[in-house]
């Protein structure tokens, strides 16, 4: 390892080029870009195209977009390629779910949450395509019978039981960028042609491979358009330095992505073009570059050895690439915004970990990317750091340093749990050890998995609501679940569990039926030749990824509200059966009426909750996860892969909460559920070690689609050498005890101010001062201000004083 790795430059100021690029992107108002939607419409509205095989239609439509979309090279850029016609923009995919977005498009510029700029003529143009797509959008094509269609659409317009993200597209892959940069699109097209010769021209395989050839060439031409643009700009450029840069850009784009990359710069540029094109193919969500520190390392080392690259310029290239990933935003309707929050496109970059043989693979690029994550602190990409038993000490220490400094990224992943989880999912040892994170938290094999990791989000607490009410939601007479006994006939906790499991099976079967119908619709109507050519297996088999061509083919279903469900079951066990404080029918009556008895509500809220290291309470949440995983595991998707459990919720814990009645853990009707696998909101009061012990009662090896635990820390606690050491130890023990993943959130002064204003929402905030015993919420406002002041000074290294404990 070079000496630069040992000297960590956390506060290094990014190069002025990077600072300018970052400013330009951060200052741009996110906007809707109509190009993709209009060009797609132009292609499909043309009757001449309608008789062609779907794979060729899909390929030609994408080729049209790549050929005609506006090409922009911004000032200062070395890495070029614009996702959209806006500096920061998002596309609409009318053939999938985009039509539903278009219903609301006129409100986008003015809405309160995530406003998106869109010009009046753009609105008009987009509204004109609605009549064409409305009957053709995916949601309409899932079921053929009008009755099924109507039922399905009614539920999915405002879903209560589960959300089918797949209706908006599958996406969510880590493309095989290693192969792309090695052999270029021409290499892939050549392979496709070779396989194509084995199939008849009327076959599905032939058409699919023809589509691959079309998109491979279209992607190459897309790069060449930037070569042309850079040459034109260079000719007009007066600054000789910039002129030289533009000449370099032109030369690079002339070469890639059509051919294999010969340099680090060409490799990064090739990936950038592919990243843009894949985002434009089906859905701009979860397209994850993957293990950049692994796939770029040979190019980095070769260029450094040749003397054409140094650490700083490599860092600049990668920083520019990172900033570019912020130029794309998902366009969400209001409903989708409520489910998915923020402007998360889920482009995940993974660092660290092992190679395919299980040897440590940390390298100089790992550290460079870690520095970029810390210094840029931008919305995208999502940075993820793998940790394993053989991870080098400086790497772990540096990760701890970045996180304790308040970066909130990277998120951390435990190889010791994830590799066996993937093995259990049928991955080879090599592929499991090579995993990268896709989207939010989902582990996949780069370039091999078509995992639909965000297929669906499933409302767990509503299953208990159905179980307590004979299969009906509170306040409705229509039965939306299975018929289970009236609460008066649920005489033991086993009866309650049996009813819960019956309802769960019923809902999971409904979900699977819908998902399989959506999968078939994707396969039939929306093949993805570009995605497929970047996934091993598809070209070899002549089979599209939507039809199961990739090596691994799971689907991820996220259980939302697991701890609310577990806490509610525990509350029933305590209140009804152990303490006999209330009979079950009376409790159900209270829940139906939103807990009018305030004493009962306070009692229920006061019972032990998941997250405080109370084994009895925690066991119920572990049970919910276990039974959900078991129920889901009984089914396979139409691509031949398993349905796997994920435990993360985006912002659907709020959305589902708003659509679910009161629950026995004391949660009122409409109130949010807990996020991911976190304890129900504000219910973790015993600190991070207790929280981790609770969370580790879940068998994460069975949570194969990944979990998200977001732990909050008071920055005061984590500052200095002592704080970092404590954090590293905390993490070490948590992972040793079977923790899967951890995202830290070092609270900033803003959060503390918020806690000051709403102490009841932040009972977990601890104050850690030597020998002093208090929670933040118990301090007077004036003292809280003092803590906030300390926080502001503490972060960023203002106070370097030892915190007074011995060496940890």
């Amino acid at each position: 390892m070079s000496s630069s790795a040992t000297e960590f430059r956390r506060a290094a100021i990014p190069s002025s080029r990077i600072a300018r690029l970052k400013d330009a992107v951060q200052q741009a108002a996110p906007a809707v870009c109509p190009e993709r939607a209009l060009l797609w419409t132009e292609y499909f509205a043309n009757r001449a195209n309608r008789a062609k095989p779907r794979a060729i239609q899909a390929a030609e439509a994408l080729a049209l977009v790549l050929a005609r979309k506006r090409v922009r090279i911004h000032p200062d850029e070395l890495v070029v390629g614009n996702f959209s016609s806006k500096r920061v923009g998002g596309a609409i995919y009318p053939e999938l779910h985009g039509v539903a977005m278009l219903r609301e498009i006129a409100t986008f510029p003015h809405r309160r949450v995530n406003p998106l700029a869109v010009a009046r003529d753009e609105i008009a143009a987009l509204q004109r395509i609605v009549p064409f797509w409305a009957p053709r959008m995916l949601g309409f094509r899932v079921y053929r019978s009008p009755w099924s269609k109507a039922t399905f659409l009614r539920e999915q317009l405002a879903p209560r039981h589960y959300i089918l993200n797949e209706l908006a597209g599958i996406a969510h892959i880590v493309p095989d960028y290693a192969n792309l940069i090695a052999i270029g699109t021409s290499g892939i097209a050549k392979e496709a042609r070779a396989v194509q010769r084995r199939h008849g021209t009327a076959s599905e395989e032939w058409a699919f491979l023809e589509g691959v050839g079309i998109v491979a060439d279209a992607l190459a031409r897309f790069g060449e358009r930037y070569a042309d643009a850079a040459e034109r700009l260079a000719a007009r450029e007066s600054d000789p330095a910039r002129r030289a840069e533009l000449a370099l850009v032109a030369a690079t784009c002339r070469r890639v992505p059509r051919f294999g990359a010969r340099s680090f710069a060409e490799a990064v540029q090739s990936i950038t073009f592919a990243q843009i094109a894949v985002n434009l193919e089906s859905l701009d969500n979860g397209i994850s570059p993957g293990r950049l520190d692994q796939l770029l390392l040979p190019y980095y080392l070769r260029d450094c050895a040749r003397g054409v690259l140094d650490r700083e310029s490599a860092k600049e290239w990668l920083a520019a690439f990172s900033i570019k990933l912020c130029e794309v935003v998902p366009v969400f309707s209001d409903t989708a915004t409520r489910m998915h929050g923020g402007l998360m496109s889920g482009q995940a970059v993974t660092i660290g970990g092992t190679d395919r043989a299980g040897r440590d693979a940390t390298n100089e690029l790992t550290y460079i990317i870690l520095e970029i994550a810390d210094e840029l602190r931008m919305r995208q990409p999502n940075f993820h750091a793998r940790l394993h038993a053989g991870a080098p000490h400086p790497y772990v220490e540096r990760v701890a340093e970045v996180l304790c400094g308040g970066a909130n990224a990277p998120a951390l992943y435990n190889d010791a749990v994830i590799v066996p989880a993937l093995r259990a999912n049928g991955y080879t040892a090599d592929d499991a050890q090579d995993y990268a994170v896709c989207g939010c938290v989902e582990p996949v094999a780069p370039g091999r998995t078509f995992g639909s990791t965000d297929a669906s989000l499933f409302n767990l607490p509503i299953v208990l609501e159905l179980a307590l009410n004979e299969g009906r939601r509170f306040g409705t007479r229509r039965r939306s679940g299975a018929r289970t006994p009236h609460p008066s006939r649920l005489r033991t906790m086993d009866d309650v569990r049996a009813a819960f499991e019956t309802q769960l099976s019923f809902q999971v079967e409904r979900l699977v039926r819908d998902l399989q119908a959506v999968e078939r619709a994707h396969r039939k109507f929306h093949p993805t030749p570009l995605t497929s050519m970047l996934l091993a297996g598809c070209v070899e088999r002549g089979t599209c990824s939507t039809a199961g061509g990739a090596v691994y083919n799971g689907s991820g279903v996220q259980g939302v509200g697991a701890s609310d469900t577990g806490d509610s079951l525990y509350a029933i066990a305590r209140a009804v059966f152990a303490e006999q404080r209330i009979e079950l029918p009376a409790l159900v009556d209270q829940l139906k009426r939103d807990l009018p008895d305030a004493d009962l509500g306070a009692y229920l809220r006061g019972l032990d909750k998941f997250g405080n290291d109370q084994p009895e309470a925690d066991a119920w949440t572990a049970y919910v996860v276990e039974v959900f995983t078991r129920t889901l595991g009984a089914h396979a998707n139409t691509r031949g892969g398993p349905y796997t459990t994920g435990l993360y919720s985006m912002t659907t814990h709020q959305y589902f909460g708003s659509r679910t009645g009161a629950s026995a853990n004391g949660r009122r009707r409409g109130a949010p559920f807990a996020s991911g696998i976190a304890p129900a909101d504000g219910m973790d009061r015993a600190g991070p070690t207790a929280l981790f012990n609770s969370v580790n009662r879940i068998d994460f090896e069975s949570v194969r689609n990944g979990a998200n635990l977001n732990a909050r820390f008071d920055p005061h606690a984590l500052r200095g050498r002592t704080g970092r050491a404590a954090f590293a130890a905390l993490l070490g023990a948590y992972f040793r005890r079977g923790g899967m993943q951890l995202q830290t959130n070092v609270l900033d002064a803003g959060v503390l101010r918020e806690a000051r204003a709403h102490p009841e929402q932040h009972p977990h905030l601890l104050v850690r001062i030597s020998g002093y015993c208090a929670y933040f919420g118990d301090l007077t406002p004036e003292m809280q201000d003092e803590i906030i002041r300390r926080t502001e000074h503490g972060v960023g290294g203002g106070m370097g004083a030892s915190s007074g404990t011995g060496p940890a």
């Binding site: 020998g771 015993c773 004083a801 007074g804 404990t805």
Partner: protein, 301 residues
Amino acid sequence: MGEVIPAVVDVQRFSLHDGPGIRTTIFFKGCLLRCAWCHNPEAIRREPEMAFHPDRCAGEQRCAAACPRGAILSGPEQRIDFTSCDACGRCADACHHDALRLIGRRYAVGALVSEIVKDRDYFEESGGGVTLSGGEPTLHAAYLGALLPRLAAEHIHVVLQTCGLFGWDQTVSLLPWIDLVQFDLKHMDSAAHARLTGAGNERILENFARLAESGVAVEPRMPVIPGLNDDPENVRATARFLARHGHRTLRCLPYHDFGEAKLSRLAPILAPLGRPRLDPAALAPFTHRFGKEGIDVVVCD
């Protein structure tokens, strides 16, 4: 039983500033001193007691209905008639807003050990353990005599935080089970010590000396209260005392007033000190004076 099992204010896990590593700090109730700057006044009395947080009170009066002794007042600032309250805690159970709290929970030795070993992996990974704090833990020597061997059997590192005012004979038998004693020196002049803490310092200084001889690791600490114990004379006396007993380092705890908010919630026990908190940056001259006497100051906060 009440005599044998002490009340505990809190078992605070993930404590990072009470000894090395990640620790679980046990705040025992009961203290013989009445330090004017006390920051855990709820730990002074030995017995459980009620506290009232007026800012949380919604005025629903559930407490009044729940109290069997009629000890609930209707005033806005104080809800509890401490003369008749016996800290049964029923008002706290009745309150939906956590405005009334019972301070002091009794853990049988086994229950406390179970609570402590929950974080054993974190102790091991960080070099941490348990810190006995308070209040004054040595008041509960018999209990500790039962607790500490159990912790030793679990290989858990133990720090004792003490004000130094304890009977040597009762405490000496605990020393083999303790890995580190954090010992507070508040003032070298006994009269001043009595004025500030309610007791002279003779026994404290004697215990410090005997501890030094006993071979147990001791970390001297000093709460720095501006104008009360940071004068050059006391600094010199403290430094010389430390040097005489072979110490080169002193851990200083700069005064903060975070304890004062607690006072009004409790039955009257101390008057607020009414001094501004000490900015650690203002400790430089103090640190310098110790330095001149050959003592390194480590500032804790």
